[in-house]
Amino acid sequence: MKNALLFLPIALAVMLAGCNLEKEVDIKLPETQERIVVECYLEPGAPINLLLTRSSGYFDPIPEDNLAFLNQTLVNGATVVIRSETGESYTLDNNLVFNQFTKKIFNYSSHLVAPIERGKTYSLEITLENGDLITASTSILPVVPIDSVVVEFNDTDTLARVLTYLTDRPNEDNYYRRMIQHSSLDTIPDQDFTTDDRFVEDVIVFGTPYDYGRGDTVINTIFHIEKAYFDFLESVQLAIASNGNPFAQPSPIISNVQGPNAMGIFTGLSYDRVVSFLPD
């Protein structure tokens, strides 16, 4: 009897492993209204770029090739106008551009560098082919400069850490995006996160582990961002983190564009970037 008792759990484990415990279910998702998604960034001294896409239904087939994917996703034929607070307007052209440094693509852009100025407010007006109007507005924040970047080598090792110092702007709520990349702007950042300044006295220090070797190039970027962009980035990161995780609660995207079924972000890019070359 004792032996039988001992073997029962083993038999049980084998049985458990043999059971098919998955069952496909037919869940009727509501017929989702297609969303129009805007991502538009204004940067003084740079062309204006805008990506206008449509969402796919959760069950929509995944296109097999990239061209088909672009055709299905990109929303073309819209009229896109950026207006300054003083009334100047810039109409963006509907053509596919590819930024060779960041390797990002956009389907609307200004040919020339638009005179975007810091401290000014800009509005966005998108008129879709069906007449729907999407609007948004943003102010271009001042750059918060990086005070210094300090490279420190470990006494006993050949690896270095990188400390990035900046001074928080006093008497206002500030939000930052910190990004640090190895060698080029199109690499996946070693660190990419947003933070606010609620617990900051005046100096902010971002550090890294001892990860950088002699001869490395390290690109430090500090974006000074609006609350709307901060919320958008946080919500996108949360949504990505919960995608595919059955135990996480999916997170909605917090958007700053208005219009029928529209979502996305319209914001200025104000950043300071320091490129450090670690000695050989």
Binding site: L5, L6, L8, P9, I10, L12, M15, L16, C19, L21, E22, K23, E24, V25, I27, L29, T32, R35, V37, E39, L51, T53, S55, S56, G57, Y58, P61, I62, E64, N66, F69, L70, T73, F98, K103, I105, F106, T156, D186, T187, P189, L233, S235, V236, Q237, L238, A239, I240, A241, N243, G244, N245, P246, F247, A248, Q249, P250, S251, P252, I253
Partner: protein
């Protein structure tokens, strides 16, 4: 409010003035076989119709006019006893009742003789421990909390877990008292088993609403679990050997009728079975060690100093241990997690006068979780070691005095004060490292937090003819970070007895909760942490109103119907998107958000406690909503365990003295889940992977979808046989007898299908994954 206080005082004064030319009979009511005190036994004076009920310590007090009185003592499952005495002075009369069940002479069949329609309380259920032990159990392991999940108004959480969601509340809103001491973490093995060992338990009472003033500190329920005191007559034992655990309980007198003891232990042994199997499958030259078990140890001592003074000391110690160690060529790696409770109390019963009974309790409890990892590397000339340990927990020290004052049969007053000091250790991480070049020993984030909770209460159970009322007020204060929170909570319970043995009941109660559990929805993890309300995290509060009717028919059947409505304020939730195992950083307050809850429903309960066939049928119709500014875009959403329909059927039938068949069938509306409804490309995370876009899935309205409905049948058969030394039994059971694949979670998968033209197409599908198939179990038990 003021009016009700005035009324309360007036009733009190009238109660006291009545007590002239009357004498008091008081004493204890015990089981004749074991000497265990009988809780809520009935004492009735046949002549006047006045009666009393024994309290948690078996004490009763009945004041009657000087005369010859004939008292009947009765208790469910026991033979009634009648005594006639001439009442000329205050009299002490302790009685022992004989169990009417021959087979189980040493058992205390918990329950109450006071008929359900007679009590002024509602929304309260006693489940006999014997019934709990008969319910078919997962892996054959009897679980008190899982038995309570089968009651109406109580929703279970995820399958196989022991969380109690009472009337739409969450598990942290249950005040779970083991011999009067709050238990913080009731889970073993991620909530699959609970810490309560049924063999050591005397009675289990769940209160879902209509809370009397003596209770406070949690919003949704009070679960009182009292340990047996130990047999006063002779030594007895009970035990079992099961698939996953074995247990043994011993009880008996140290000095007959004076001092008793009870010890009970349980240990699981998954590691003893799986350890050797895993070790055998490792390559030679390596060493693998596994520790995977939990244990419980209950102990209780009772000492009767004299008829008026009794002392009780009780303790619980339990822990989960999960460790593994792997060694190869002199290098070794180890990791593990241990968590457990220590709960202890010291109680002193003092019968000050025949009408005044005092219980003083000192308590100490702590909950601790340790997570550790280490490595040792052996080099030719030296050894390097690294160790990390994360430790967190909560520690309570408290004291309380409770008084029962029974001036006459129409009043039963209870009042008392309590104070508890909480120490929170919200997570300290320590590193140790030693080797050729490095020697490190640091401790990070070990700030402790402190708070103190005070409470005082006064309640009176008043009999006014057909109307019986329980009126009271509970006041509490909480000191944290130099900040005080206070709360005054009125409590009202009313019962009106109709002519036809039906009674109508109504209750109103408000509650406040000053400590909170940080937990993810759906899983009980050892790292779930208790934290205080703070300056920014305000206390949770609630109010609940309930209406109902109760009736006993054919002597054995109790039926009750109740409707309730409850509102909760400042309940906690993690902010959207938050999902993590080790949830504690110094800024935990940043990760949570507070909002409101609204729940309402209807409960139907039909119970039969004695006879060849026992069990119950419970049905709950309920709605459960949450409303947070920062969740679901500020839109109200259903709670994860919003269960429209919930049915439980529990039946046991004795075919003979030797064979009992038990079955449960449960049905529940599927859990609410959030599913994404669309996906779109973004540049946010797009770093150089052109021409691909990074796609984000979104659009899920919180808990807007339902998993398929849950239903399950469990069966068990118990074969008992008397032996020279006592009794043995075999229990054979099966969980999920018709193997319904009940959904545990939903995953989205990409599936490739072939088109008619030979090309392939990828599409997405949702799949429900279940974790518990049909599971047989067997266990051997004995008692002597």
């Amino acid at each position: 409010m003021q009016k009700s206080i005035t009324l309360f005082c007036a009733l009190l004064v009238s109660a006291l003035s009545l007590a002239q030319n009357r004498f008091t009979i008081s004493g204890y009511i015990e089981d004749a076989g074991s000497g265990e005190k009988l809780i809520a036994a009935n004492i009735l004076d046949l002549k006047s119709g006045s009666g009393a009920i024994s309290n948690t310590y078996g004490f009763y007090s009945l004041t009657l006019p000087a005369d010859s009185v004939t008292l009947t003592f009765s208790y469910i499952g026991y033979q009634p006893l009648t005594r006639t005495i001439l009442l000329r002075r205050d009299t002490t009369l302790s009685v022992r009742l004989e169990s009417s069940v021959q087979l189980e002479t040493v058992e205390v069949t918990a329950g109450r003789y006071e008929k359900i329609e007679e009590s002024s309380r509602m929304s309260r259920i006693d489940v006999p421990v014997e019934q709990i032990k008969r319910i078919p159990a997962l892996f054959g392991e009897v679980d008190v909390l899982k038995a309570l999940q089968l009651l109406p108004g109580v929703q279970s959480g995820n399958e196989g877990q022991n969380g109690l969601y009472v009337r739409g509340g969450s598990p942290d809103q249950n005040l779970i008292l083991l011999d009067g001491v709050p238990v913080y973490n009731v889970s073993h093995l991620l909530g699959i088993f609970s810490v309560f060992n049924a063999d050591a338990i005397k009675n289990v009472t769940l209160t879902k609403g209509g809370f009397p003033a003596r209770y406070g500190g949690r919003l949704s329920s009070v679960l009182e679990i009292n340990m047996k005191e130990g047999n006063t007559q002779e030594v007895h034992g009970e035990g079992s050997i099961g698939l996953i655990s074995s247990k043994l309980t011993l009880e008996g007198p140290i000095k007959k009728d004076r001092t008793t003891f009870l010890v009970s232990g349980r240990r699981t042994y998954a590691d003893l079975i799986f350890g050797p199997i895993i070790r055998a499958s490792q390559p030679s030259g390596t060493d693998f060690k596994l520790k995977l078990f939990f244990y419980d140890l209950n102990a209780k001592l009772q000492h009767k100093i004299n008829d008026r003074h009794r002392l009780f000391a009780s303790a619980y110690l339990g822990s989960d241990v999960f460790h593994n160690r792997y060694a190869e060529d002199g290098d070794s790696f180890e990791g593990g997690i241990d968590w457990g409770n220590l709960i202890s109390s010291l109680r002193w019963n003092y019968q000050i006068t025949p009408k005044l009974f005092a219980n003083t309790t000192l308590t100490y409890s702590r909950y601790l979780v340790d997570i550790g990892a280490g490595a040792t590397y052996k080099y030719d000339d030296h050894v390097e070691k690294f160790n990390a340990l994360y430790r967190s927990g909560i520690e309570d020290t408290g004291g309380k005095i409770d008084f029962d004052f029974i001036p006459n049969p129409n009043h039963y007053l209870r009042f008392g004060v309590s104070a508890v000091s909480h120490t929170y250790n919200p997570g300290a991480l320590s590193f140790k490292s030693s080797g050729e070049d490095i020697n490190l020993d640091t401790l990070i984030g070990s700030q402790k937090a402190y708070s103190t909770e005070f409470a005082a209460y006064l309640e009176d159970d008043i009999q006014l003819g057909a109307l019986k009322a329980n009126l009271g007020v509970h006041a509490s204060a909480f000191k944290v970070q130099g900040h005080y929170y206070t709360s005054v909570q009125p409590r009202i319970g009313l019962r009106y007895l109709l002519n036809n043995d039906w009674s109508l009941k109504a209750s109103f109660s408000t509650m406040a909760q000053f400590i909170n559990l940080l937990t993810s929805e759906g899983f009980s993890l050892p790292t779930d942490l208790w934290v205080p309300s703070t300056k920014t995290v305000t206390p949770q509060t609630s109010w609940q109103v309930a209406l109902g009717a109760a009736h006993t028919f054919k002597n054995d059947f109790e039926i009750s119907v109740e409707a309730y409505y409850k509102q909760m304020k400042n309940v906690l939730s993690y902010k959207e998107g938050a999902s993590f195992l080790f949830g504690l950083e110094n800024d935990w307050q940043e990760k949570i958000t507070q909002g409101d809850g609204e729940t309402y429903g209807l409960e139907l309960f039909l119970q039969k406690k004695v006879g060849k066939t026992t069990g119950w049928l419970g049905y709950t119709l309920s709605w459960n909503w949450r409303d947070f500014d920062e969740i679901n875009g500020g839109k109200r959403f259903p709670f994860r365990y919003d269960r429209r329909h919930d049915i439980s059927l529990v039946l046991s039938h004795d075919f003979s003295d030797r064979i009992t068949l038990s079955t449960t069938w449960v049905y529940g509306t599927g859990n609410a889940v959030t599913l994404n409804t669309f996906r779109y490309p973004t540049e946010v995370n797009n770093f150089g992977n052109y021409p691909y876009f990074y796609e984000v899935e979104s659009g899920g309205q919180k808990n807007a979808f339902r998993m398929t409905d849950y239903h399950r049948l469990d069966l068990s058969v118990e074969f008992r046989k008397p032996k020279r030394w006592g009794e043995r039994k075999w229990v054979i059971g099966v969980y999920n007898a018709y193997f319904h694949r009940n959904p545990y979670y939903i995953i989205a998968q990409n599936e490739t299908t072939q088109n008619p033209d030979g090309t392939y197409q990828e599409k997405r599908v949702f799949k429900e994954v279940s974790i518990l198939p049909l599971i047989p179990s067997v266990s051997y038990g004995f008692k002597f």
